[in-house]
């Protein structure tokens, strides 16, 4: 653990202003430091390159070819991308997750923020217990969570159906084509509300308490403090959860994939873009096109995330 001390002592010497004539070459101490830094990040960089960069480059390369069951492989340039842009199955999937995004994400994050503020207010009984129970669903693996909800949704023997039957009401068709997206939203909200809440709650704990004191002196109530101080103070944490959620929505896969066994005709092979890419690769044996679809999706996510970030920054400035 020599790094911090050397930075402290030698740091001044290398500062551009004072280094003067020796500016170009680094002192041996600094060079040693750099070497250590590279050495320390090397394991990460190696794994990063092998597990992420190389596969990405390979996928990009694959997406430029077409391989037919009969006729073999040929270079097609961007034809796969052109095909994906005109592919209605892909387009519908993107629209579906976009709809999911604009409805589910505000609900989930709004609730998460509400819970975080409530916990932060310190006015709840059994605070730790409440915090833990809200966070608990996130600790349940999404596979287990989906199987559990799949059982709860069951149209013949699920508890909701049983209750509805007990009250002589029609059973709610959770797994029908009209309800499926809502049912998925519910599962995802249940799963991730606690995760987002914890991020916001942690950010709230870091807000200096003297701000609240000052606000109170100015006569602000709790609601006013929450609205004018707490929420602006954790803006960057909220932005983080928004971006995570945007990416998560576009990458929906596990939950629809698992519910597919319960409703195989409602969740078709292109229900979400990720599911589509998966099916293209493994049932259509069209790896090349699947790679193009995946890349296009990634590009879309990048654009949407950037737009989200940009708009919130602009709002912050105005």
């Amino acid at each position: 653990m020599t790094a911090p001390t050397t930075t402290g002592s030698a740091g001044g010497a290398t500062a551009p202003g004072r280094a003067g004539p020796r500016r170009r070459g680094h002192s041996p101490a600094v060079r040693r430091q750099h070497r250590a830094a590279y050495l320390l990040v090397a394991p990460f960089m190696v794994v990063f390159a092998a597990m992420l960069v190389v596969p990405l480059v390979y996928a990009a390369y694959l997406s430029l070819f077409r391989e037919q069951l009969v006729g073999g492989r040929s270079f097609v340039g961007l034809a796969n991308y052109a095909r994906a842009l005109g592919d209605s199955a892909f387009g519908e999937g993107v629209l579906r997750v976009s709809l999911f995004l604009v409805i589910q994400v505000p609900i989930m994050l709004g609730l998460a923020l509400l819970f975080a503020l409530a916990l932060d207010s310190g006015r709840l009984y059994a605070q730790r217990f409440v915090r833990l129970s809200i966070f608990l669903p996130y600790a349940v693996p999404s596979v287990v969570a989906t199987l559990m909800w799949g059982y709860l949704y069951g149209p013949d023997f699920g508890p909701f159906t049983q209750i509805a039957e007990g009250l002589s009401l029609p059973a709610p068709p959770f797994l029908s084509s009209g309800w499926m997206l809502g049912s998925l939203m519910n599962i995802l909200t249940w799963e991730f509300i606690g995760y987002n809440m914890i991020i916001m709650f942690a950010a709230l704990r870091a807000v200096p308490a003297d701000l609240y004191e000052a606000a109170r002196m100015d006569g602000a109530g709790e609601l006013r403090i929450a609205w004018s101080i707490k929420i602006p103070a954790i803006r960057s944490a909220i932005l983080l959860t928004v971006i995570f959620s945007v990416i998560g929505s576009y990458q929906l896969f596990n939950e629809p994939n698992l519910l597919q066994t319960l409703a195989p005709n409602v969740i078709d092979s292109a229900y979400t873009p990720n599911l589509y890419a998966y099916n293209l690769a493994f049932t259509s044996q069209d790896l090349n096109y699947a790679a193009a679809v995946a890349f296009l999706l990634a590009a879309g996510i990048a654009v949407v995330s950037y737009v989200v970030q940009l708009t919130s920054q602009r709002r912050a400035r105005s």
């Binding site: 009969v70 013949d156 195989p264 409602v266």
Partner: protein, 461 residues
């Protein structure tokens, strides 16, 4: 869908025979051979049949084989094989069931390493592997002589011309399983024609509320295709090269589609997805009074709906014409050998021996409850006379073995059935599930697989 997850009840019998029979296996594979003499020129095997000396030599040379199968307890047959051929050691791998395994297999084949020597493949997926020459023609390795031991249609399923691409492990000729108590309650008998079946469905619905005579899932192309097969439809074909036949717009197909459309429109059958919890419960608690299923169905049912023991009976499928006895096939598997194997003789022997030698074949049939189509099982008295309590002492195996001879012989497949089945769920299957227009769904299915075939470079007829 091969006999999925068979429960294990009775333990091994015929183990005593083991040693004695092991010896005969060697002798059995003598002479025969695929080529009719002379250097084979065109189609099929241009390899000389291997001689008994070559087989003996290969089987007494220390060899390691890798065998991928999802058959539960396949270790039993592997142990028997290793006992019979002590020089050969077999590395048994469960690489997943059905499509999961095929995905891994295709990856390994493409990678050029990691592929097994012997692999379980379902009948309808054989063409997708012969397409690129990934499977070894077993004819010269002693498979050709097996022809007389199998029903003709089974033989047709594993051959292309003279080439033999898999050794049948089990088959699934279709029949009907009924809940006798529910039929009695409704005062009906097991219908013998589909017209009667419709009447019976109506009666059942009125007489026993909450019970449907049967369920037509929108996610089971295997079952649906089996029903098409029964009616003499031949929707798929592949010439082994580049030409495929896709013909879903025929009277045989539309008759079946229209029939089920009628039942679904009138709400005489349920349309729940099958092979999920919901459906298992439906079988166990009497939501469905019958199941049109394959020869592996009876044992599967015993594992799924054990609480209904004694209430079920088996019967042939209802016929389209009174007196007609045709049926279709649903499921079953083969063991195939990859052409990349370094030990083709030993690998072919493994595939062949475990499915045709009396000891392992009867273990498959009596212990693992597979419906093995080889004569050694289909003519075995113990197998035929089995009268499980679950079916009220009915000799279910005997019934299904009679159905085995009623399967149409030239039903073919496309070399991309995974796509075809997936597409079914998105088209015709959705129409079934949502009570939509099934003929439109059928047309969409045909369109979709036709455009896929063209995209993949096939010539479509």
């Amino acid at each position: 869908m091969t006999a999925p997850r068979t429960p294990l009840r009775s333990r091994s019998r015929g183990r005593a025979l083991a040693a004695a029979l092991a010896g005969t296996a060697l002798v059995l594979s003598a002479c025969g051979g695929g080529g009719d003499g002379g250097g084979g020129d065109d189609a099929g095997s241009d390899v000389e049949p291997v001689t008994q000396e070559q087989i003996d030599e290969a089987m007494s040379t220390p060899t390691e084989l890798t065998f991928w199968t999802w058959l539960p307890d396949a270790q039993k047959e592997v142990d028997q094989f290793e006992a019979a051929f002590p020089e050969i050691s077999v590395n048994l791998v469960n690489a997943g069931q059905g499509l999961d395994q095929y995905t891994k297999l295709r990856t390994a084949i493409r990678a050029g390493e990691g592929a097994p020597d012997v692999v379980q493949i379902e009948y309808q997926y054989l063409p997708s592997f012969t397409l690129n020459g990934d499977l070894l023609d077993l004819g010269p390795y002693g498979a050709s002589e097996l022809q007389d031991s199998y029903p003709e249609w089974v033989w047709e399923q594993i051959t292309e011309g003279d080439a033999v691409y898999g050794i049948p492990q089990d088959i699934g000729p279709m029949g009907s399983l009924y809940r006798q108590d529910l039929l009695d309650q409704a005062g009906i008998e097991a219908p013998t024609t589909w017209a009667d079946f419709e009447e019976a469905a109506r009666t059942m619905k009125e007489a026993v509320p909450g019970t449907y005579l049967t369920n037509m899932p929108g996610n089971d192309p295997g079952q649906f295709v089996g029903l098409l097969w029964q009616n003499g439809a031949k929707p798929f074909g592949f010439d082994g090269d580049q030409t495929v036949t896709i013909d879903l717009d025929t009277p045989e197909v539309t008759e079946v589609v229209d029939y089920w459309q009628g039942l679904i429109d009138e709400d005489l059958v349920s349309t729940d997805a099958d092979f999920n919890d919901q459906w298992y419960q439906g079988l166990a608690n009497g939501k469905y009074a019958s199941w049109q299923t394959a020869a592996w169905g009876p044992v599967f049912l015993q594992g799924t709906a054990g609480n209904t023991s004694g209430l079920w009976r088996a019967a042939p499928l209802p016929a389209w014409e009174e007196g007609d006895t045709a049926t279709g096939n649903w499921g079953g598997s083969t063991d195939a050998v990859l052409s990349s194997t370094e030990n083709p003789i030993a690998a072919a022997q493994l595939a062949k021996w475990i499915n045709t030698d009396p000891e392992p074949a009867l273990t498959l049939a009596l212990d693992q409850f597979l419906f093995v189509p080889h004569d050694v099982v289909l003519e075995d008295q113990e197998f035929l006379d089995a009268a499980p309590e679950f079916f009220g002492g009915q000799q279910v195996n005997k019934l299904y073995s009679e159905l085995t001879t009623e399967v149409d012989t030239d039903f073919g497949w496309l070399p991309f059935m995974d796509y075809v089945y997936n597409s079914f769920n998105d088209t015709l299957g959705t129409a079934i599930d949502e009570g939509g227009d099934m003929e439109a769904g059928l047309a969409a299915w045909e369109d979709d697989i036709t455009s896929y075939a063209e995209q993949q470079g096939f010539t479509v007829q």
